[in-house]
Structures are given as C-alpha cells and as structure tokens.
C-alpha cells in the first residue's frame, strides 16, 4: 500500500519528540518501545501493517490539544485511533507519524434522560452506552457488528451503521454534538443537546471524516426508548431473485423493518455449521426480517411480511416463538464472519451499497468474478438498504491469493458503482478503497472534498494517506484559474 513518503527529519527528531510528549502525558501514556508499538501496527483491516513512530494515549482534552499543537508546530503527522476495529484501515499507522489513541477517554460523562441524550467520552464502547441506559428502557440505536469492542468516537469518525440503520439511521443521524480538537490544537464544541446547530453543519461533515478533520474528544448521542416488542422471521427462498423481490415488496408496501438481512447459500451453510441457528440448508437465499414497535403494530406487520414471503415462493417460513429463538436467528448471521474463518485462513469483507433492485444482477456479477479470480465468496447483506458484504476467502500466506483477493474486491466495488451504487456503505474508505475513489468521483468532485479538508487541516498532517488517492496542496486548491479582466467565456452575459 502506497503511503505518504516518510519525513526523515521527523524520524531523526524522535527522541526529542518523546521528551516533549512526556511533558504533556506523563508515565505510560507515551509508547516508544517496539514490542509495545506492535499492538498498534494494524486495525480491523489486518492485511496492512505499519509500525507507528510513537503512540501517545492522552487522558484529557487539554492533553490531546497540547499534543496536536506540539505536533502541528513540528510538522509531525497524527493518526487518530479509537478501538482499532475499523475495517478500512483508517487507523493504519505511519512510520513517521504519532498514533493518538483515545482509549483512555473511557467515561460516560452524563446521562440526560429528559433530553434523551448521553454525553460520553469517545473511547467508550458503542454497546456500553446502551448498557448504561437500558435499565431505564433506553438504547443507542446504531449497532455495528463490532459494538462490543468498537468505540463511539470511532463510530463518529467512520459514520458507522449496523443492522438497524434502515429504520433508525446511522451514526450521523443519532448524534447531536461533539467536542473536536483540530490539528492546530484548537478545541471546538460543535452542537449540543439540541438539533440543527446553526451555521454550516460541521457536525455532519466531521461524522464520517475518518480522522482527517479533527480528533473527537467528546460525543453527545441520542438515546431512544426501547421498542415495546421485537419479532423476527426467518424466510428461505428457492432463488436469490425471489428473496430480493420479497425485500422490495415489503418496503413497497410501506413496512420499514428494524432489520432485514440476507445471506446466500454458501454463507448460510457456513453460518449453520458454526452456530446451529436452525437455518434451512436447501434455500438459495435466506432473509431475517425483524420488526419492532408496539405489540399490535408488530403483529400486523409480521402477518403482512409472511404473506408477502409466501407470495414470493418462500420455501421456509418461521416466526420466532420466543426471545431465545429470535436470538438464535441472529446468532447465525452474527457469526457469519467467524464462520468464514473456519473455512479459510483469511477473508476480506467488502462493503458496497447498490440500489436494491440491482441485487440479483450484481450477485450474478459477483459469481462471475469469483470464477474469474478463482476465489470463493460468501454474500451477506443488509438487504433493506442495499449494503452488500461479500466475504472473499483467501490465504494471506500466498502472495498471489492476496493480490487476487484485492483485485476481486476492487472489481466488486467497481461493479457496485457501475450499477448506480457506492464504494462504501458503512466501513469507510480508509486505505482499503482509497485508490478506488476515482471510480466514483471525478477530479473536480475530489478537489471539492479536499477543500473541506484544507479548511480544517491546511498542512495535511492529520491522517494523510487515507480516503484520497492524491492529496493536493491546499495552496493549489485555493487558486482560481480565472484571470480577472480576461474573460474566459467572452460570449457570456456581463452583469
């Protein structure tokens, strides 16, 4: 993976930087020993590794601001890191960079039930927020599969989704404020406990900015009352197309399920062997449809979903009898990834989104690509919102297989874009899809995105090498190629 050229002068001044950082974060908060740095060499995208120059673990916003100000002054690059579970390499270290870990920001600061929000430090895990409020009947809605480990600050940086986001939205729809430290060390408080902060929606652009705009040191998240009732159905279909049709019909008829997940036959077989979830092994596609709401609404909705499924030739229809069975339905889906781990030494998980109606054709395309690249693929999707997670199986010890897996993944994402979709639904661009950005955006699009970056970090010190295949210099981006007095378009009307 091509990364920015390391700055030899910065590396040469490492010892001096360690001393200056220790003055800000005393004790074990500055890590310089190689064997300890190894713990930070990769994130959830383990195919790429790099040893950071240093790791620093501040405990307070003041420390974080001082670190950033120091590094800004010395021209030292910063890589922010939450729990390190990201799947696109957003926290991949730089050899001449300081990895700024937010793991010590691990406290929930305030639970404000009357304003339906929780103010928390960024290192708190996604699930810990729900755990903190569930005894009063509330929860935090976005639920990425890694929720037991991933941090809320990382969720903000990546705009994480989950299985329930068709109905309840992704991270950006569920937060109302952040505290952010800029690369220059300014502490900004954006938003609060009220909706729609005035001025440009900086909260909206920071969410999903993959650590390129600032370091998040506090988050205010919305909490919701837990639905009164949740029910799920397991639906098996004789073809992929029949399952996809069922998904479209459910939505067309005005039902927005809390979750609607699809798995292909290979994924079903692997998950069933691993989790014994009771999945039908003869189905070509399997749907889990979950509805939540009041008891009567869920009962009515489920009756309609099942009627639609039967009209779509479902061969297996099973509604959960009790909570244990609902959890069993999900156990297979949730173990789809580890189940792949039993079948193959390595896998990569792709993350494109497509218009849902294109699903059968895109799956045919993925099958063809699988043959072309000579690698197996299992398909799991958030079917409700068209977010695909093809799992490509390969052996990382075989360099040729890794190269083929990467090429296969890139071809899948290009296919998604060609079918009217996007490169990433919820995992982010990071380093993984960085070089594919031109498949979706032209140079003018990317330059406009980078002008936002320039407003926050004109020197390009924050997480460089991520998201953009090429970082233009901000001075160059600021120029206007129109010369005053010389009209480039003399035929245009003058005012």
């Amino acid at each position: 993976m091509r990364m920015p050229e390391p700055d030899a002068a910065v590396i040469a001044a490492r010892a001096d930087l360690v001393q200056a950082l220790r003055a800000i974060v005393p004790g074990e908060g500055v890590i310089e020993e190689e064997r300890e740095l190894l713990a930070y060499e990769t994130d959830g995208l383990t195919a790429y590794r790099e040893l950071p120059m240093l790791v620093v673990l501040p405990e307070t916003t003041e420390q974080a601001a001082a670190i950033l100000k120091l590094c800004h002054g010395r021209g030292v690059k910063i890589v922010p890191r939450g729990a390190g579970t990201g799947l696109s390499g957003g926290a991949l270290p730089l050899r001449d960079g300081v990895t700024l870990g937010l793991g010590r920001f691990n406290r929930i600061l305030e639970i404000d039930y009357d304003n339906l929000c929780v103010v928390t430090q960024p290192g708190v895990t996604n699930l810990a927020i729900t755990r903190a409020v569930e005894d009063r009947g509330f929860y935090y809605a976005p639920d990425p599969s890694s929720q037991i480990a991933c941090s809320i600050g990382g969720n903000v940086a990546e705009n994480s989704g989950g299985v329930h986001c068709l109905k309840y939205g992704v991270t950006t729809n569920n937060i109302t404020g952040v505290e952010l430290v800029t690369m220059a060390g300014d502490v900004l408080r954006i938003g609060g406990r009220h909706p729609d902060p005035a001025g440009y929606d900086l909260l909206g652009v920071i969410t999903g900015s993959e650590g390129l705009l600032g370091v998040i040191t506090e988050v205010t998240v919305k909490i919701r009352p837990k639905p009164e009732c949740t029910r799920a159905a397991l639906l098996g279909f004789p073809t992929i197309r029949a399952g996809a049709t069922c998904v479209s019909r459910v939505i067309s008829e005005g039902i927005i399920p809390a979750g609607m997940e699809m798995m292909d036959k290979f994924a079903v077989e692997a998950a069933e062997a691993f989790a014994h979830a009771g999945y039908p092994l003869d189905a070509e596609s399997l749907l889990i449809v979950e509805l939540d709401g009041t008891v009567s609404e869920v009962a009515d909705g489920m009756a309609r979903v099942i009627a639609i499924a039967r009209e779509c030739d479902a061969t297996h229809v099973r509604e959960n009898a009790d909570e244990a069975e609902r959890e069993r339905f999900w156990s297979g889906r949730k173990s789809a990834f580890p189940a792949m781990g039993r079948l193959s030494p390595d896998y990569i998980c792709m993350d494109g989104t497509i218009p849902r109606g294109r699903l059968p054709d895109v799956l045919d395309g993925i099958t063809a690509l699988s043959k072309q690249h000579g690698l197996r693929v299992a398909n799991v999707f958030h079917a409700g919102d068209g977010n695909l997670h093809p799992l490509i199986l390969y052996d990382a010890n075989d360099a040729d297989q890794l190269a083929r897996a990467e090429a296969f993944g890139a071809d899948i994402l290009k296919l998604c874009v060609a079918e009217g979709g996007v490169l990433s639904g919820e995992h982010g661009i990071g380093v993984e899809k960085r070089d594919l950005m031109p498949a979706m955006f032209d140079d003018t699009d990317l330059k406009h995105q980078q002008r936002l970056k320039c407003a926050f970090d004109p020197d390009g010190l924050l997480n460089p090498g991520k998201m953009f295949p090429e970082l233009h210099r901000c001075a160059e981006l600021g120029k206007m190629h129109v010369h005053h007095g010389k009209l480039p378009f003399p035929h245009l009307p003058r005012f």
Partner: protein, 403 residues
C-alpha cells in the same frame, strides 16, 4: 438594475457562475425566492434563480430514493410521492408565507439549502438526515457531485450535510437525491388542554420517552387558540398536542394508551383536522397572518434541548414578552412590538444550551444584528475557510450567513 439569470440546465448554471466570477459580480442565489428574508440581506444586483432546474429525474419507490432538479417545486415532489403512498418524512415546512410569499411555491433545493424540517423532526430527523446526494456548481464555476443515489453511503466526506443549511453560500444546487419513506396510513392527534407551560412540556417529554412513538409534540398557548379546532374551552391554558401516525390499529392503540394513562380530559383530532393542525404548526402559520402588515415583525426560532423549553418560554414571556409556539425542540417566538429583543432572546437560548435564529426582521435589523447565532472564533474561522474554498470570489449569496 436587477438582472435575473435563470439557467435551464447545469451547463447554463456553470456558464452563469463563471460569468459572475469573471465580472466579479455577486448574485442572490434563490430557488423560487420565497425565503429571501431568511438570512442576512444580500447586496447583489443579480438574482440567480434555480427554479428552471426542475423535474423529477428518477423515482423508485421501493429504493426509497427520489432524484430531481433542485429547483423542482416541493409541491410537485410531494404530489409525486403521495401517488405512491410515500412522503418526505422530515415534513418540510412552507415558510414562504412568513415573508409574504405565496404558499406552496417553495422548491426542494430551497428547503434543503435552509435545512428546514417540520413537526416530525422529533421522530424522523431534519432535512439534512434525508439528503443523500447532489450535483451542484460551486462559486468556482465548477460542477461537482457528492453523496450518492442510495440510502446508505460513507464514500468520502458527507458534503450533503455541508450544503444542507448553507443558504446557497457554497454552491448552487442543480440536482438533489433525497430519502423518501412510506406515509403512515392513519394520523390521530390528542389535544390535552388546561395545562401550565411546565406541565405541558413535562407531558411532551414523557410521551417522547415512552414507547408509544409520537411523531409530533407541540405546545400551543392560549393566545394561539385559533389554531385549534372549535370546542375546546376558551380558558384552556396551554394545550399539549401529541400526534400518532402509522397503521390504523397501531395509531388507535397508541393514542388510546396515552389517553388512558393521562386519565384527564382530552380531545382527539381525526385525519383531516390533524392534517390541518400540524401543517399550521409546521409552517408556523400563526406568525404569517396578515403577512403584509407583519412581514417586518421580528420572529425568532430557537433550537433547544427539549426539556429546557418550559424555562425558556417562561423567561421570554416575562421579558421581553411576546407570543410563542413550541414544536418539539423548536420554539417560535415573536417579541411584542417591533424590536427584535436580540440580547434577551439569545441569552435565553444560550442559557438553556440552545441557539436562537432571527428568522424574520426588517433588512436593517438583520444586517446590523446578524441572523444566525455566533459560534466562537474557532468554528467561524473554519466556516470562513470552507466558504473561501468553495466560493473564493464571494459571488454566491455574500453576507447571507456571516458578515
């Protein structure tokens, strides 16, 4: 001279903005021009009208997305969706009448550019939450795109959020893609009269925290009684209103449970009455009456942590005094007389952790006081840098958001 440019497609829009840049002439960027009074006054001799960029381009109900020209009228979009049993869930308000413009003429681009949402904001989120993708021409005269045509996307920065609520100061939208959702089959509204402000707000918060999934929470003071259907006692005090939407059985069930839980007197609005009531609340209709006379009367919109609303209302009613309407987290407030009472209103909002926007006032007042809340030098410096990156010559709505 007040020149008007009305491009018919994106390439004409590019030419128009390049022309502005070359001539160093700023323009007022507008859709149908219904909300020109929202924001600081723009000193520009040219109006760049985007309502020629109109028409539905793609709509697939089962994909939950719609793509159209940014200048498409909201009425057209909504009628199109209604045919398929869908809607814009953020319930875009029609604020034109607040400024003396005719009702029903606003454009989708204008609503997104001002990031306006109605009463369903409490459940469905704001306009920004439903804005999936766009094509636009920046102040550099360059056409660009961001976002996508699907409901879930994290590819690149979320520039849709940046443009939502940017009041045409960064780019002129040419095409937008929005998320659409099924309409609830039925609507019912419970009116709960005879409450103090404190009690009414408490009731709304309780409903919000409960599992009965309200989709509208508003509090109407006695002086706005004409908003309400006849038959409620005149001395009713505050009236709390709670809306339920969804399948018929579910709406009946949830409304019934709330009524039973409260025990006291309540009044239920049926489908048509409900529709009219929430449209009036969403559009802040009480503040648009006799527009010709009132169009210069200062009107504020406060965004508040919901539980703080009662305290803010009491504080404002005591000083400077005026009329108000609470819609979820949003408080409308018109001070008595012709003054904006800016210091008092901003202090009340800030004291509660919220913000206040001077939604309407004479040009001179908006120019002098500003319209949007100040955010501190750190944020304002970044905002200015974003603006100069997208519109380095300041040709798009200069001064509309910040002096």
């Amino acid at each position: 001279m007040d020149a008007q440019v009305r491009p018919a497609d994106e390439s004409e829009l590019v030419d128009a903005i390049l022309g502005l840049v070359a001539a160093r002439t700023p323009a007022q960027v507008s859709g149908a021009g219904t909300k020109r009074g929202f924001g600081r006054p723009v000193n520009a001799a040219v109006t760049l009208r985007l309502d020629g960029l109109a028409g539905i381009q793609a709509y697939a109900p089962d994909e939950l997305t719609l793509t159209c020209g940014a200048g498409t009228s909201l009425a057209t979009v909504e009628a199109h969706l209604r045919e398929h049993g869908q809607e814009l869930a953020f319930e875009p308000p029609d604020l034109g009448p607040l400024y003396g413009a005719p009702a029903g003429t606003a454009t989708i681009g204008g609503v997104l550019g001002c990031n306006l949402a109605g009463s369903r904001r409490v459940r469905a989120g704001g306009a920004r939450d439903h804005f999936l993708g766009f094509r636009a021409v920046s102040g550099r005269g360059e056409a660009f795109k961001a976002g996508g045509h699907v409901v879930k996307n994290v590819s690149g920065y979320d520039l849709c959020k940046l443009l939502a609520g940017s009041f045409g100061t960064l780019a002129a939208l040419s095409e937008v893609t929005v998320k659409v959702l099924p309409r609830g089959e039925r609507t019912a509204t419970l009116l709960l009269p005879g409450r103090t402000v404190d009690a009414a707000v408490r009731l709304l918060i309780d409903a919000w925290q409960s599992r009965i999934e309200p989709s509208g929470l508003c509090c109407v003071p006695a002086e706005l009684a004409p908003l309400l259907p006849a038959g409620l006692p005149a001395d009713a005090g505050c009236v709390a209103a709670v809306r339920f939407e969804g399948p018929e059985g579910s709406v009946r069930d949830r409304a019934g449970r709330m009524r039973d839980a409260l025990g006291g007197a309540s009044h239920e609005l049926g489908e048509a009455e409900s529709g009219a009531f929430w449209k009036a609340v969403t559009d802040a209709a009480p503040f648009a009456e006799a527009a010709a006379v009132q169009v210069a009367r200062p009107l504020w919109r406060l965004s508040l942590p919901p539980a703080s609303a009662a305290g803010v209302i009491q504080r404002l009613v005591a000083r400077p005094g005026g009329s108000w309407l609470l819609d979820g987290s949003m408080l409308w407030f018109a001070p008595v007389g012709d003054t904006s009472a800016g210091d008092l209103v901003r202090a009340a909002a800030a004291g509660a952790g919220g913000t206040a926007t001077l939604l309407r006032a004479p040009d001179s007042v908006r120019a002098a006081e500003g319209v949007f809340p100040r955010q501190g030098t750190g944020i304002e410096r970044i905002a200015a840098a974003i603006r100069s990156g997208f519109d380095p010559e300041g040709v798009l709505n200069p001064g509309r958001m910040a002096a």
